[in-house]
Point group: C2
Chain length 157, copies 2
């Protein structure tokens, strides 16, 4: 049995989701978003991401972390911002002794929606169905849960 923390990093909003997985059977534990204050200097926002991920780990004690291996075809400027946010989230997990696993957006979508080009709404819907959630998670939280589910499937944990 493993408790998996999924992370969907972003410079404004970082989604997180925690699930439990027992040989392919998955269950929901928690999900939400870490908001970085846009009015603060960027270094402070990165620190909020680190603190937020750290807090989620303290509360939910995951045993592994899975994070989207973002690689988008936009401009270097935004890639640099997103990269810093991702770096802050990754080191927060590593500093807590978690192994960090990377998954491509395509593999994540395939894992939850059966189709690598699935739309955000489809991912959201399937995450809700697979985890039996009473209501629809936000897109960022759903993406984070999707990464966690992808990791569970990958290892048949």
């Amino acid at each position: 049995m493993e408790r998996i923390l999924g992370i969907d990093p972003g410079s404004r909003t970082t989604g997180y989701g925690v699930i439990v997985s027992d040989r392919g059977r998955i269950g929901f534990i928690a999900c939400g978003v870490i908001k970085a204050s846009p009015q603060l200097p960027f270094a402070h926002r990165l620190n909020q991401i680190f603190d937020g991920v750290n807090e989620v780990i303290q509360i939910h004690s995951p045993t592994a972390a899975a994070i989207e291996d973002v690689f988008l075809a936009t401009n270097p400027r935004s890639a640099l911002k997103l990269g810093q946010a991702r770096g802050a989230a990754v080191v927060a997990a590593m500093q807590n002794g978690l192994q960090v696993y990377d998954y491509s957006p395509k593999l994540i979508k395939q894992g939850v929606a059966g189709y690598g080009q699935a739309a955000k709404a489809q991912v959201q819907h399937m995450v809700r169905v697979l985890l039996g959630l009473p209501s629809m998670p936000s897109t960022d939280a759903a993406d984070a849960l999707a990464v966690a589910i992808c990791h569970a499937n990958q290892f048949r944990l």
Copy 2:
């Protein structure tokens, strides 16, 4: 009097330099590089950067951090890598309670070499002269010292 940690982030090699500044008079304290093992998974390398910066702060007790605000016109893929390395370094400084100041490469070069387009070798040479170093620092360490000097000049600390 302020002790300034300058950081030149990179996904393979992160340069660092610590100087002391007393109302415009600057002195050398330490410099070096933090190497991330290229054979390790990327998350581990980011963690090495975090640990390395953290260790430098523990040893030299800087009171502020200055870091190059990288923004290079290369592809999004490498910007994403560099961004993550920068993010790891920034949160290490923030987690130690340091204020983190960003400086553009142009301003840094102008500050030490009097010319925003100065070559790496010029920056290296001027850093050596300004700090009275007995030998030439490596380029990464020199870049880190240059950011620290830039910060000292900026505030006439």
